[in-house]
């Protein structure tokens, strides 16, 4: 059943406040979700005061400042700091996005609220468990499948055929979309979600792949595919400006064209 209240062990406590030493002209509060598997405590929102004059411009810079100078026990994922790796996906002021691409200045006034991607098991602080999503990615077999013998050189493709992969291959699997989708919240054990369906579409539209029928067979399922109700949160939040909702509509159309 859909849950409208947080389970008891997920209810948030007011956390610790980490005040700034001395005066600062541009002080900003960062409220950060904290939870550790040790100790059996409920999660809390810690408040870190940050002097923006002594901090880089992005939300990720503030997080790094916290681990470097205030509390080194804060856990979050990050790698490339330029929107290519997808590691620092989190919920910033109620919207899933990448911390490295979000300007602190763009977040308006008031405290900045940082919490992990919604409706995922939390491993620690801002780190969600993505193993279900990776398994779903494996389920769609995201590699080229072609029964023809491999040619001596690369498999050829016309420029038009290549263009059809645009809007698919740019996905960095940050899962901002899947974790913003209510359908995915309620049925993440069976619904594949926008990120994975976008990748499924990436192989369906590739002219070099000739297993389209088998791929569609695996997708045609009331839960795997048809839990999408074109809510469009996926397209709204995608930090790479991709359109998973359109890709899912494309898969439904392909299945409908089969007969």
């Amino acid at each position: 059943m859909a849950e409208f209240t947080l389970p008891k062990n997920s209810q948030l406590r007011e956390g610790r406040r980490w005040p700034l030493d001395g005066d600062a002209k541009k002080k900003r509060d960062f409220k950060v979700y904290r939870w550790s598997p040790d100790g059996g405590q409920n999660p809390s929102m810690d408040t870190f005061e940050i002097d923006l004059d002594k901090c880089g411009p992005m939300v990720l810079d503030a997080l790094m400042k916290i681990t470097d100078e205030i509390d080194s026990s804060l856990a979050f994922r990050r790698s490339c700091r330029e929107g290519v790796c997808g590691s620092c996906a989190m919920n910033i002021n109620g919207r899933n996005t990448l911390a490295c691409l979000t300007h602190i200045e763009d977040l308006g006034d008031g405290p900045v609220r940082l919490s992990p991607l919604p409706h995922m098991q939390v491993l620690r602080d801002l780190v969600p468990d993505l193993s279900g999503l990776y398994a779903q990615y494996e389920l769609i077999e995201p590699w080229l499948k072609n029964d023809q013998p491999a040619p001596d050189r690369e498999r050829r493709q016309s420029p038009e055929e290549r263009d059809r992969i645009d809007g698919h291959y740019e996905c960095i699997l940050c899962f901002c979309c899947s974790t913003s989708c209510p359908s995915y919240w309620w049925n993440q054990d069976r619904y594949l979600g926008p990120a994975i369906l976008l990748q499924a579409s990436r192989w369906l539209v590739d002219s070099r792949d000739n297993h389209v029928g088998e791929r569609l067979d695996e997708l045609e399922d009331p839960f795997r595919l048809y839990r999408c109700h074109t809510i469009m949160n996926c397209t709204t939040v995608c930090p790479k400006d991709l359109n998973p909702a359109k890709a899912i509509a494309g898969i439904k159309r392909q299945i409908s064209e089969r007969g």
Binding site: W186, D189, L219, D221, I255
Partner: protein, 138 residues
Amino acid sequence: MPDSVNPSGLTAIRDSDVLRRVRHLGSARSGRSEWRLQRFSAVALIPLGLYFVVSVVRLARFDEAGARAWLAQPLPAGLMLLFCVAILAHAFVGLRSVAADYVHGRLGSLAAILLLWAAVIVLGLAAALSILTILLGR
């Protein structure tokens, strides 16, 4: 310590099990016809719904005998029957989808489906028999 109580053993079991759980019982290879029924009934309901609303507004000026006489004609009776079929089909696939979204567990979803089927059959029969009774003048 046996694997089942060692936390890292539990993590290892969960990690090795996750793909199996995601694959579940495999693809049902269905859903297309339900999706189509939803779309087609929606398209059909645009003209049929307009016809229904206009008819009901016009019927407000009639007494019961007048309304019965109107519904005893083949075209209004046929369109009214089609409207009932389309709206019940649309409501059925829509509510079944809502149940799939929100009602989890074998027992709950089975109960929801049976309840929906029962409601559709009872309402459909009642609507069809009412229209046919008037059409056939009984």
